[in-house]
């Protein structure tokens, strides 16, 4: 079917009042759950499935679910910037510079550029989807265990670069994150690790509890110990909107982030997180003022935010073209579609062109809706910063505690939250950055699992990582960059030593 004819037909379907309503509902609901810790898009879609079955048209159903999915991406960035609470793994990187900007009174600018960047990235991503879906899909398939390992491994090392000054401390964080990830059942051998007899530890720690604890509660505990009663509140509200300078600085970051996110996001498993990491690293490298990163560089928000939104668009590609779900939320959408009698896969375009094009068209519309929804709210959100610490802090604690509890209905999760909070407090006192810890926690299973699978495949030789082209390219690229970076740093050190 001709692409433009299909797309036109899709828009006709997407612009019906019912579908518009559901797109809006999805976007609002998605944003709301993105802001609330604990409840993620996958869980929400699961909860709503019985209602979704009742909806007659599969197009409407998937429009609603897609709206929830990328709406939550927008919502997650909001809490990352304002409260240093990453809604999901892909927003962790945004916390780093986003929160610093908020502390400096530039929350509005950060939120604004995040919204705009996300919109541009999402739109471009959808265009890419429309034009290149089958090609990209096959690219995704070519990522087997060795390639996934190399990608995740590079992601890990990039996470260390987020640590700012001390590489050693960054490595410690990363390693600890990997260790935390290995608590629980090991899927490859079936053994439980590090549970020490505690039943609740058998399934390991949850990302939400860890991230909320280390980032959110850690910050609050630190605030409790400091002099000013309202440490989190910045004294000046500052510019509410991004300035022209911000915009100029972020243009390229958004573009680069989009590209990174689009390609890496297709890969099932860790696409969005890794793409935000890569984008941050790229921006830091490309920037003329890399010292600003970690202190509130707007590119450090624009890039990763665009990346993770492009990634969420492209994560639909394997679903729609191959019938392969890439992450938990997409898996839910996959299940819902199958139950409704629509089989996502290569035949989707032929058998149900209205579903395929209708969804794509509604994603364009959904992105616009989210922009329209979020931009005016930026001003409102920025005012949230003014709420005194004495009220904000306990509310954050309550939200995160309830959110953690709701994951499995276990009090243990609230205790772990506090534990991680204290841990996060300690980390800050000892000048550690929690970012690499949390990111390594997310990437750990992928790194370890893929490595072991690859070794099984290769019969125990590590050469498999270098024999396969994609893996070799990834590792090679990283090695080149790392060596280059190390050379530059060593030269600087050498120079300062010889010139006292």
């Amino acid at each position: 079917m001709d692409i433009f004819a299909g797309l036109l037909n899709g828009f006709l379907i997407a612009l019906t009042p019912v579908n518009l309503l559901f797109a809006f509902l999805g976007a609002v609901l998605g944003t709301a759950i993105g802001v609330l810790p604990g409840l993620g898009p996958a869980a929400t879609i699961a909860l709503l499935l019985p209602a979704i079955y009742v909806i007659d048209s599969p197009v409407t159903a998937i429009i609603l679910m897609a709206g929830i999915f990328y709406g939550s991406m927008y919502g997650g960035s909001t809490t990352s910037i304002l409260l240093n609470l990453p809604g999901e793994a892909a927003s962790v990187v945004t916390c780093i510079d986003g929160y610093k900007m908020a502390q400096k009174g530039r929350a509005g600018a950060a939120l604004g550029i995040a919204a705009i960047g996300s919109f541009i990235a999402g739109t471009v991503g959808i265009v890419g989807m429309t034009l290149f879906a089958p090609v990209i899909a096959n690219f995704a398939l070519s990522f087997g265990p060795p390639e996934k390992f190399s990608l995740a491994f590079v992601g890990l090392l990039l996470a260390v670069t987020l640590s700012g000054s001390s590489v050693v401390k960054g490595l410690v964080m990363m390693t600890l994150g990997l260790l935390l990830a290995s608590v629980g059942l090991d899927p490859i051998s079936g053994k439980t690790r590090f549970s020490f007899g505690v039943t609740e530890l058998q399934s390991g720690f949850d990302f939400v509890t860890l991230a909320m604890g280390v980032f959110g509660l850690g910050e609050i505990f630190l605030g409790l110990e400091s002099v000013i009663k309202s440490e989190i509140v910045s004294t000046k509200v500052g510019q509410v909107w991004p300035t022209m300078r911000d915009w100029v600085a972020s243009r390229m970051a958004i573009l680069r982030g989009t590209l990174v996110g689009f390609f890496i996001g297709v890969i099932p498993g860790g696409g969005a997180v890794i793409s935000s990491l890569v984008s941050y690293a790229v921006e830091k490298k490309m920037s003329k003022r890399p010292e600003e990163f970690g202190q509130g560089a707007i590119e450090g928000v624009a890039g990763p935010e665009s990346a993770n939104n492009a990634a969420s668009s492209s994560s639909f590609i394997p679903l729609l073209t191959l019938g392969i779900p890439g992450n938990a939320s997409i898996a839910m959408i996959f299940a819902a579609l199958l139950i409704k009698g629509v089989t996502p896969g290569p035949f989707l375009i032929q058998e149900h062109p209205d579903v395929f094009w209708g969804v794509i068209a509604s994603m364009y519309i959904g992105n616009v809706m989210l922009l329209v929804l979020n931009l005016p709210l930026v001003g409102l959100w920025a005012q949230l910063i003014r709420v005194p610490f004495g009220i904000m802090a306990p509310i954050i604690i309550l939200f995160t505690a309830i959110g953690s509890y709701s994951l499995q209905g276990q009090t243990f999760d609230i205790y772990s939250l506090v534990g991680f909070g204290l841990f996060g407090y300690l980390l800050r006192k000892l000048h550690f950055e929690p970012g690499p810890l949390v990111l390594a926690f997310v990437l750990g299973p992928m790194v370890e699992g893929s490595m072991r699978q690859s070794l099984l495949m290769s019969g125990g030789t590590f050469s498999i990582f270098l024999e396969r082209p994609i893996s070799l390219v990834l590792l090679g690229l990283f090695a080149v960059l790392a060596i280059g970076q190390a050379a530059v740093t060593l030269r600087k050190k050498f120079r300062t030593r010889t010139n006292p």
């Binding site: 759950i33 609330l36 409840l39 909860l47 050693v168 401390k169 490595l171 410690v172 390693t175 600890l176 990997l178 260790l179 290995s182 090991d186 490859i188 051998s189 053994k191 690790r193 590090f194 509660l217 609050i220 505990f221 409790l224 110990e225 400091s226 002099v227 009663k229 004495g390 009220i391 802090a393 306990p394 509310i395 604690i397 309550l398 939200f399 505690a401 309830i402 509890y405 709701s406 209905g409 009090t411 609230i414 205790y415 939250l417 506090v418 909070g421 204290l422 006192k429 000892l430 000048h431 370890e448 490595m451 072991r452 070794l455 099984l456 019969g459 125990g460 030789t461």
Partner: protein, 165 residues
């Protein structure tokens, strides 16, 4: 600050050794063709121990070049002398942490509404030293608001209190 870092780095080395030991003894290391459950954690333990040692070394090296690190440490939390720090810790930090722990303990027993109210009351009174009026107002508004918000979304999940059923 240096002392804190030294203690921490030594702890890290010890921890790393422990992890490596535990992985070796209790989880199998396996052979290279099929690494066992302990393979990854073992190396994590080793790396942690090594990094801990490097960190420890760095604390000695940094001392020789008094730079920003030391100045930072100096101003950390002790800007008004030692006394206010003790006070802050005792009256804000500890109660805050304890309140959350208490919240967790009460959550299933007293139901989430009561726990939330008590938490807010406790926080406002003890940590923030607000008046009773403001305290109750904030507590009820917050708990009520959150009840409305969460009940709708998380219907079956929030406990109503084992003390009452």
């Amino acid at each position: 600050m240096d002392r804190a870092e030294r203690i921490a780095s030594v702890t890290l080395v010890a921890f790393g050794v422990f992890v490596a030991y535990y992985s070796d003894k209790y989880l199998k290391l396996g052979i290279l063709i099929s690494p066992g459950a302990g393979f990854f954690p073992y190396w994590i333990g080793v790396v942690l121990a090594v990094l801990g040692a490097v960190w420890l070394l760095n604390t000695f090296l940094a001392r020789k070049a008094p730079g920003p690190a030391e100045a930072e440490c100096g101003s950390e939390g002790a800007d008004m002398g030692g006394e206010p720090l003790r006070k802050r810790v005792l009256f804000r930090f500890l109660p805050g942490v304890l309140l959350v722990v208490l919240y967790g303990w009460l959550f299933e027993k007293a139901g989430y509404f009561i726990s939330t109210v008590l938490f807010m009351v406790g926080w406002q009174k003890v940590v923030e030293r607000e008046s009773w009026l403001k305290t109750l107002l904030i507590a009820v508004l917050c708990a009520g608001g959150m009840y409305a918000l969460f009940s709708y979304l998380l219907k079956g999940v929030l406990p109503t209190g084992t003390w009452f059923s």
